[in-house]
């Protein structure tokens, strides 16, 4: 199932060279509101990432809101995209969401199980949170 937020992201990346894609991610990263230092704890961090990544979340009117952050700008840019796509949905929708944009904008290799820094573990964590909120 295609959704509009992902479609829009894919369009923005379309036809870009690699370095331009990264430049775009960095510009998204710069727009992202940094996570308050007090939340950047071991507990909120996701292990196995080459750059540290933190995740917090809350529910608003039955919809999940994630805040993600990272020290590295490219990772941070990806986090910002993830937030755009995932946030503001009921938990059930988050669990079921097919995050196809990642592959289409060329970040699939960051998802490979071979990479300790895999986006995979971040996405897994998002799904786990959503599953927990479903009950």
């Amino acid at each position: 199932m295609r959704d509009t937020v992902q479609e829009e992201i894919i369009k923005q990346f379309e036809g870009l060279e690699w370095l331009d894609r990264y430049a775009l991610l960095i510009s998204f990263a710069k727009e992202l509101e940094p996570m308050d230092a007090k939340f950047r704890t071991e507990k909120n961090s996701i292990s196995g990432c080459q750059s540290r990544v933190w995740i917090i979340s809350h529910k608003e009117d039955g919809r999940l809101m994630f805040h993600l952050d990272s020290e590295a700008m490219i990772t941070r840019g990806i986090m910002s995209l993830l937030m755009k796509v995932v946030n503001n949905r009921p938990p059930r929708e988050v669990v079921d969401l097919d995050l196809y944009f990642i592959e289409e904008i060329g970040l699939k290799s960051n998802l490979s199980p071979a990479r300790a820094d895999g986006l995979a573990s971040i996405i897994r964590r998002i799904r786990e949170v959503a599953e927990g909120e479903m009950n």
Binding site: S112, P113, A114, A116
Partner: protein, 393 residues
């Protein structure tokens, strides 16, 4: 099944001007072109260290390495790839288990069989365990009814197939009994992985060990399957790639499979196992089994009907190796003469001295078969034996 010989370039070689009849497969197998090319192509176009790189080659290498792990995992029917650790070989796999379980084994007992290879004997001794062998009958068939488990028994470690006799041990029966006593079972599959379809869940073992080089892949690579319930044992080795946090005061470890792979692994070797599995599955393990069974049974029968030949062991299910001796002729003489006829066999105790003692002999001549062997090879062996006997007449 005919025609696979041509996939193995070394088999086109002549030895002393004779067609090579390679019957030393239990020692190591030959490699098909697809495996050899996979190795050189890897070094020519993808080589990099894995797991920790941000760059393209590192990604490709990591992916190929993990793909190999997935292939092994499904080849042996594991629940998931994380249960598969790459090691340096069967011996290394068994040593790692012995090291990890040492706190439990030291001063206690490991139950083995009377046909074990030294690699399934010495590691337990080094871990401080005492060894006891499950009794067998005069044909070297395991007497599973006589398995005696005591309070001190902490592990059963048995070979799936004997590297000397070719006999297949009733591993399923052994794991069934072990489960009743909640004793883990290690299966040494060094001599079965290349011959039989294997399913670890069906066997019901906790550990399974085998070598790449005996299954058409590289030297220096092996596999240790560890069932999920042992996923948190102490790693046997320490080093890069398997730790979470390291301080001089102490260290925490990652989850399997990384936990059990300290240091740079044999990346090309692992990938070569993937290629070997592709090759075997391309033929089909059932088809390989059927063909090998035909050739093996034929060779065994011809040996049994040859005058002055003693063939050792005699169980229903067999694969791979046949051990024999010629009356009044030393196995070493037999091996040397066969060699000069282009027939490669192994002679000696085959790293199974306890079995030799049981048989009351110093050694045997061992012919061992692979998927590329044919009845023609068996005939060549029989002819060769005739020649050996003639020369000693």
């Amino acid at each position: 099944m005919t025609g696979h010989r041509k996939d193995f370039p070394i088999l086109a070689k002549e030895i002393y001007g004779k067609r090579l009849v390679y019957l030393d497969n239990a020692a190591t197998s030959q490699k098909p072109n697809s495996v050899i090319d996979t190795i050189s192509d890897f070094y020519r176009s993808d080589n990099s260290n894995i797991h920790r790189g941000v760059h393209y080659l590192s990604e490709v290498s990591s992916e190929r390495y993990e793909k190999a792990r997935e292939k092994v995992s499904s080849f042996i029917g594991a629940d998931e790839p994380a249960e598969v650790t790459f090691t340096a070989g069967t011996t290394d796999s068994i040593n790692q288990v012995a090291r990890s379980l040492e706190p439990v084994l030291r001063g206690n007992e490991v139950l083995i069989t009377g046909v074990e290879h030294h690699s399934n004997i010495v590691p337990w001794q080094l871990a401080g365990a005492r060894l006891r062998a499950i009794p067998m009958d005069k044909d070297c068939d395991l007497l599973t009814d006589s398995i005696e488990i005591t309070d001190r028994t902490k592990l059963i470690a048995i070979s799936h197939a004997s590297n000397v006799l070719g006999s297949i041990n009733p591993v399923r029966e052994v794991t069934r009994i072990a489960k009743e006593h909640d004793i883990p079972v290690l299966v040494d599959a060094a001599q079965s992985i290349q011959h039989l379809p294997i399913d670890v869940k069906d066997i019901g073992c906790d550990f399974l060990a085998f070598s790449g080089h005996k299954m058409y892949a590289e030297t220096g690579i092996g596999v240790l399957y560890t069932s999920e319930r042992f996923s948190e044992i102490m790693p046997a080795r320490g080093g890069g790639g398997m730790v979470d946090k390291v301080t001089l005061e102490g260290t925490t470890y990652l989850k399997p499979p990384l936990r059990y792979e300290a240091g740079t692994p044999h990346i090309a070797g692992a990938i070569s196992i993937g290629a070997a599995i592709d090759y075997m599955q391309g033929i089909g393990m059932d088809k390989i089994r059927r063909h090998e069974h035909d050739v093996y049974s034929y060779a065994r029968e011809r040996l049994l009907e040859t005058d002055g030949v003693t063939v050792y062991g005699n169980t229903g299910q067999m694969c791979g190796s046949i051990s024999f001796n010629l009356e009044n002729i030393h196995h070493y003489d037999t091996g040397l003469i066969l060699d000069k006829m282009g027939i490669a066999v192994r002679t000696g105790h085959h790293c199974a001295q306890p079995l030799m003692r049981t048989l009351g002999i110093e050694g045997t001549v061992r012919a061992s078969f692979a998927l590329y062997n044919t009845k023609e090879d068996a005939d060549a062996l029989i002819d060769g034996i005739g020649k050996v006997r003639m020369m000693h007449a």
